[in-house]
Amino acid sequence: MQLIACPWCGPREEVEFHYGGQAHVPYPESPAELSDEEWAHYVFFRDNPKGRFAERWNHSAGCRRWFNAIRDTATYRFESVYRLDEPKPVTP
């Protein structure tokens, strides 16, 4: 089974984790001014790249913390994991 490295607990089996979708989707600065279409984009529209993707993950069966990961959607390889208070790593 694939191992995912929790930034806190270290490598654990994939089944201990929950997927949380795309990372770094900022909450709208002035939500009251958004049109329905802009809301829909914020709530439902996500990138769907083939290759590197910054995602949110939750170590639900362990420490229950959220963290971010850069994962390759084509190979499923985790390139890096980082805490929520750490910046998105610059990938070459």
């Binding site: 089974m1 654990r12 089944v15 069966a61 420490c63």
Partner: protein
């Protein structure tokens, strides 16, 4: 008024546990008071107020008075006490951390403890637990929140030889886990024909 007696969820498993060999002993721990602590920053002030240095290294536990302080997250710990009532422990811990912006919640009824001792404990646990329990990496003071079988557990290493492990499991999963452990220990149990 009729008094409600608290019964242990593993009352019915006692005889089965007693039949286990010395290489895999399972003892049901008595109820202890447990409090979940949330605290942003751990400093000297918190240690002084609580009387224990909360462990900041993930997957560790330290003795705390008559009980233990277990790391559950970067801002979360499980404190236990064998001499205080749940109410006393919660009140004491809350008084210590609330001024520092923390919180304390009594979770004594959430989990029960099963103490596994014997030379085969690691083999039994390895049947349903994916993390490395070798004494080299899981010596006394180590802990792990993970899954054992299908149940979420907190494992605490009480010895340096991986032959003494405390398993904390949610009360409602205790029966399932007890059955699972008995099944996992089956190959180490001698039958009357042996």
């Amino acid at each position: 008024m009729a008094e409600l007696l608290r019964t242990h969820p593993l009352e019915g498993w006692r005889t089965a546990f007693e039949r286990l060999p010395d290489t895999v002993r399972i003892a049901v721990e008595p109820f202890v008071a447990m409090v979940d602590v949330r605290l942003g920053t751990v400093g000297a002030e918190a240690s002084a107020a609580l009387g224990v240095d909360l462990p900041t290294a993930p997957n560790t536990w330290v003795p705390a008075g008559t009980g233990r302080a277990v790391w559950l997250g970067p801002d979360e710990w499980l404190l236990s006490s064998t001499t205080e009532t749940p109410e006393e422990l919660e009140a004491r811990v809350r008084a210590a951390v609330v001024g520092l912006g923390g919180s304390a919640t009594d979770v004594s009824a959430q989990r029960i403890g099963l103490r596994l001792t014997g030379a085969r404990v690691r083999d039994v646990l390895a049947k349903g637990c994916s993390i490395d329990l070798h004494p080299r990496v899981f010596g006394r003071g180590s802990s792990a929140q993970t899954a054992l079988g299908q149940a979420g557990v907190v494992l605490l290493a009480l010895s340096d030889a991986a032959d003494d492990v405390l398993v904390l499991v949610r009360s409602s999963f205790a029966g399932y886990l007890a059955d699972w452990l008995l099944d996992a220990a089956l190959e180490f149990t001698s039958t009357p024909n042996d």
